[in-house]
Symmetry: C2
Subunit: 101 residues, 2 copies
């Protein structure tokens, strides 16, 4: 239910990397356990858009400061990413359409 | 420069479709010419995340009501999509990191 928060993460990676894939999966599982977590969606490939959804800005900040997440950010800068952009978004309105309904 | 708006469009398509790809490309070119347009990013594949960026909510609404865009939305419901979700987001904060800097 709006309003809620989204963190849009757009990245370009240096190369396909097994360790990256493993840690990305671990982080996704860890994010799901955080208070205020709503959802996570991600594309695939070296140019990627991922979006995590959170109940409020406090939940966004807690996740940013999570120690394991911080380690992954450092690893990302050291090795995985050429570029990334983070956007903190307040979702004001949302609607969906489903062929089956 | 924040604040600005993003329209997050998540979709599942029915199948790969040449006409879809052509019209998606046309629409992207058309969006670029609209007042208030900032940027457009998209993943690829049948499960897709696309984000268009706009200077303000007026620009978002104008683009939604654009006649060609409306035709594409109708076509999408008739043929291309199984599911889609639209989220209107106010980008409050943004930062980026670049290996080269």
């Amino acid at each position: 239910m709006t309003p809620y928060y989204a963190v849009i993460f757009r990245s370009e990676r240096t190369e396909e990397n097994k360790e990256y894939a493993e840690i990305a999966h671990l982080l996704e599982e860890l994010a799901k356990k955080q208070p205020g977590y709503i959802d996570f969606v991600s594309g695939s490939g070296l140019n990627n858009i991922s979006i995590s959804y959170w109940e409020d800005l406090e939940a966004v900040k807690r996740w940013k400061n999570n120690a394991t997440h911080q380690l992954a950010i450092k690893k990302g800068k050291d090795e995985w990413y050429k570029f990334y952009k983070v956007e903190i978004a307040l979702i004001e309105r949302a609607y969906e359409w489903n062929r089956e309904q």
